[in-house]
Symmetry: D3
Subunit: 287 residues, 6 copies
């Protein structure tokens, strides 16, 4: 850090956090963790620090993670090649088994370890634990996707119990069906549904973009779903940016109050978004 920053400036930055800590005290923040923030070691450490700090100052962070690259890598080791239809992974029985290995047996546990290293007490969950996520096979018009799941019900009692006991839940996007079969579910969708079930104050989606930009590449700090639809229609949002904001847009449309697209490539971006005056990404308000 730049050592020429004066003590007064440093103190002011801390003091500016006051109204935000006050506003979000006791509130639940669901954090979709993915992209660079999950693979770069320095960004991982900063993320874990942020989560623990938010917990300590009285908020209730809940992490939902993805893991596409890690799944790809494991499939490759087993001589399998991932297949996608309409952006979704075709998940046959063997792939589902590997997805569970990687998400519950590797990625989730790595995140738990990171948060614990930063001084928190994280507990990993899948949708099976405490009956959290009940799902059924997703019927898609792009064809048969195998064990890709559609959420039927969220029973958030295990998440609430852990929060009350000062633990930080870390959730893998796996659901279970009526015959006890597992389903691979889109992590953005899980984060949105968890946010709704917990009546979360915010859903924070760590992505690899700075937020939604206008035609002049200036950050748009607050948008409604309708405005985003307009920006897509007029071509302001196009190409590779569309899938990157799709999850946030869906969550906002389906009722999550405030969805934030946060640039996960910037260390502590989440902390600045929540605890400072800086508008650090794009917020999508449900209404």
């Amino acid at each position: 850090m730049n050592t020429v920053i004066s003590s007064l400036d440093r103190a002011s930055i801390l003091a500016q956090a006051l109204p935000y800590i006050k506003r979000f005290h006791g509130k639940t923040l669901v954090i979709k963790y993915g992209g660079n923030a999950m693979t770069d070691p320095a960004l991982q450490a900063a993320f874990a620090q942020d989560v623990v700090l938010l917990k300590l100052v009285g908020m209730n962070p809940v992490v939902v993670h993805g893991g596409g690259p890690q799944i790809e890598s494991a499939l490759a080791r087993l001589g399998k090649k991932g297949e996608f239809k309409g952006g979704m992974r075709v998940t046959d029985a063997e792939t589902m088994e590997i997805v569970e290995w990687v998400l519950a047996g590797e990625v989730q546990q790595d995140i738990v370890g990171l948060i614990n290293q930063a001084g928190g007490k994280a507990v990993g969950l899948t949708g099976r634990d405490g009956g959290l996520i009940r799902a059924k096979k997703l019927i898609s018009d792009v064809g048969d996707l195998g064990f890709v799941g559609d959420i039927q019900n969220i029973d958030a009692s295990i998440v609430k119990a852990l929060q009350d006991d000062a633990f930080i839940p870390v959730i893998s996007p796996i659901g279970f069906g009526e015959n006890n079969e597992s389903y691979n579910i889109n992590a953005d969708v899980v984060a949105g549904e968890i946010a709704k079930a917990l009546n979360a104050e915010k859903l924070l989606m760590l992505t690899n973009i700075a937020g939604v930009l206008d035609k002049n590449k200036a950050l748009l700090t607050e948008l409604t779903p309708a405005q985003i639809d307009g920006l897509i229609a007029d071509g302001t949002i196009s190409g590779g940016m569309i899938p990157k904001i799709a999850g946030a847009l869906d969550a906002a449309k389906s009722g999550v109050n405030a969805v934030h697209i946060i640039d996960g490539r910037v260390p502590h971006a989440m902390l600045l978004e929540i605890l400072s005056d800086e508008a650090f990404g794009t917020m999508i308000r449900a209404k």
Copy 2:
């Protein structure tokens, strides 16, 4: 079931459970789950029913599972061959990764699913979750075992929190070290240490033997560690039976009050052991 059993007999069997339910009310039972009971579908279902029934009648079951065969199978799929020294798996970094995949991402979750199907609310944990099992590298005289762990500390707060909230903890025998590295730990040892940390009433070890037998193959229903040492010395216990009771013996020697060797090949053996007059296996009393 034999339908000629009279109603009166059926009622008597239920009524006989009364003193046991009373005696073990509110007590913690740690169950080491392994062997046939974990691989045969009918035995799996009976096990899950038993766990849920014990929880419902007021006891606190905690499951610790193994998973040797499943690990072997996964290693084979990845073209690796398990190597053992002194009965312990040599666990290099890659093997450790696969052990975590299989234990946390497959076996544990399968058990959680089984218990939930039987009407319980199970929650899977590894030693990372809530900082449950801190470990360091096991220094063994059989040579370098890689990431095989020696338990340093049990922080049972997450287990207690889940018990209080009516959840059933299911624990994978994985610990974490001071640099956040994972360790593969013997499940019998984990079960014994968890039992001590929770001040458990009983440690029940589901095995593939009927219990300890005398020279005439009659079941010995209650033994002290010293008596077992004597039976090994005089050859009554020999050959393949020795490793099968080693974990129970160690736990009894290290201070767990009552360790039961239960025949996991018999459906509901655990239930009969706890809730009936039948001595269904061998109990080793610490003193």
Copy 3:
């Protein structure tokens, strides 16, 4: 017990109780205790065991007892002869005094003792204790019945307090009036009103019949009050059986959700009714 019953069968019987224990967990069961089950020593012991077992597995049994034969016997010792009108005991002041002696000072206390011997913690109550049953003189068209009471109000706070503190309430059917006078009340009626006041899951009436039988003497396992009225009208239910089911019928008609007629002559009949698949008597559903 028949010793040829296999362990497996025994375990299955225990395991079958699981869904029932789960379904009735935390629910209140009001038990009208009378007839043979109250006079035969073996049946008494089985009854007490059942009550304690139900409490231990998480239900809340509340006992309401009768005591006709014991009152008759006491009256005889004092040289009085019981007089009845329309099936109800004419209760003059002296008889009322003796009724209280016998119900509160003998029958209730015997039941408390039996339950305590079986390992429970019973507490006897009359309608005076904690202001439980306020009553007034019953105006009957069969003539003046003296101190026979009509329930005015149930204040169940003492019953709830005892339940919460793990005690088992045993209630004598005596009420008190506005001038502090005592009233003798029909025990079936008291059981029904207590069940309504506690919003009980079930009212179990131990009687000396197997249940309601059809013309071919086959047990009718589930009936509505309207169906019973029909069976009386067409003569299927007739003679001495009518008064034996009158209390259960009244309770069902006055709003108790499920009223069971249980054969109190069979040991543990109540346990089988609640904890097994066997339909052991007749259930009358309010609707």
Copy 4:
């Protein structure tokens, strides 16, 4: 009441109660209720008012009652004659049955009714209820006394549960033995043992004497057990007064902190003793 008492005087009397209410707040007062106070209607009403008032101002009164005259009367109605040895009632099986009728089924319930009429919520208990008083046969050198009991153990959990729930316990002096048999126990002794088990602040014994008097018939307001022994030795206390203070003396000797002999013939004597400056009887301090 004398209507010429000024308002100021009336207010002063109320205000003088302040330090006593403060001192005894939350403290348990065990009251042995017997003698005239239990038979005269005006004294009964005043007693019940006092008990309710003490409860309302934050103390925890627990009533233990006797019932000798009522037992005599019932025996007579049944054609039996009470027999005494060494001042204790010889209690054969039939007498014991009648003692239970009268104490639990008449006297206790009358007192419960009186207290409820005065606005309290009383709950009657015998030694069976909640396992309160375990006893065995009293071995006496005056000969076989039948079912006269010697207290083995007090389990005061039911008394404490009722106190916490704002109920006023009223205890009949009946114990139960290991074969579930009943025992008739001296009420003074029961009161003393209950006081010890509850760590009571005071044991108040309502008697038919003004207290202990010196040779000049002046009231002695505070004495030690040793001083009483001296007064008996020198003849100051003699004749019929000795048995009347024996229970109080025993209780003080066996460890109850402060035992008060209160003149039960004076309305509200108990209230004045506790809530005013007036020394209204004799207090025996354990030390």
Copy 5:
């Protein structure tokens, strides 16, 4: 006190308090403390005793005090002269400062000290403490009154927290405005608003009159606001008595359930009003 009052009479007076203690148990009593009762040492002591006694017997007294004479005296010492318009003190900035000195730094603390001396645990509050009384400038048709306040909002959380922790709140009639400025508020009005915010059972106003008298100078013990309006209209209430009952009348009109005008010149008048049959002042019922 007149020592010829018999013990029986003394006991009866205590016993007569029973129904009142019962009726007002757990209820909040707001007491407006002013006039002679606040300046005469004997009356002060009696007032403090009464407050502590009411607290001890289970009620929740909350004191709101005035302080006109003390403010006058302080102004005089600082060479200022109080100015009034329409009966209200014109409060310029300097006067406001002195009002705060006197109310919060003298009168309130004197009352806290008195109550503590009587055995209570009082805690002084102004409208600033815990954000209790938010106010704005009172707009009056008698002209500019400076910092005389009009209550905007009562946040009674601090009062409730103190009550729950067994403390007795003593409130000075000072509010704070949106720019953190202080306001001098009429104590009668504060008492009325506090009574409404706490849903108080009674508002007791200690005044220097015996109550409302009819044309024959007989005390009117119970009136409605409408009846008082009538008595003013027909001249029964006139002259200097009108302002003395104005606060009580306003409170009753604005929704306080029962407002008592109590003669603060009589020691313990408040106690007699609440704890005895004596009608000691005039009660104004809202309806």
Copy 6:
């Protein structure tokens, strides 16, 4: 604030607070508030923000304030001149009255208002409130100091009750004696005794010095009382600096674990001291 500070730097400053928030979670911090920090409006606002922020992030700040200049000013308005002996204000009865006016009726309430404006819920207390500070006349060898007090006892129950209910206590240094008289007590001493009674983690003394400096004017960040005594002995600490650190030195010597001398002239100095790596003043460790 300097707008050229990068977002990354801002985030790092927030993240650096994590270990400190963790370390001091749930701990009590007693803050002696005086000097410039209490008179400069910008510093006042920063102080209030800091107190609220510390409360929000889970610590328990308790403020003890002084008020010398405000007392001087009030005395002057009343035509009195303050007199000092040995650095202590000679406090005759009239002065004591004015001290109470100013401390409880002005300074304390101003601080309560400031903290409330910053979003906290402060409650002002003197030593009278809840019986917090019992004192007696200080016997000094500099002569008679009038109502200057020596602390006899701290009853911190009111402070703990307010902390538990999320309020921030603000304490004026006034005690009460056995005749209910008031005492003026040195605020540093009150802060030290309150810190001891609450077993505070830290006592923070806001002063007008940067801390203790060595001969080269470099800040000494951590000292023991013995080292300070040495520095006074060798002349490093001399002149006007001695009284400025006397209170901190006394508190450390009398058992407060860590006493911090904080430069109250620097905005948010307290926040930096607690929540950052910066050593911002001098810490005196008891041992």
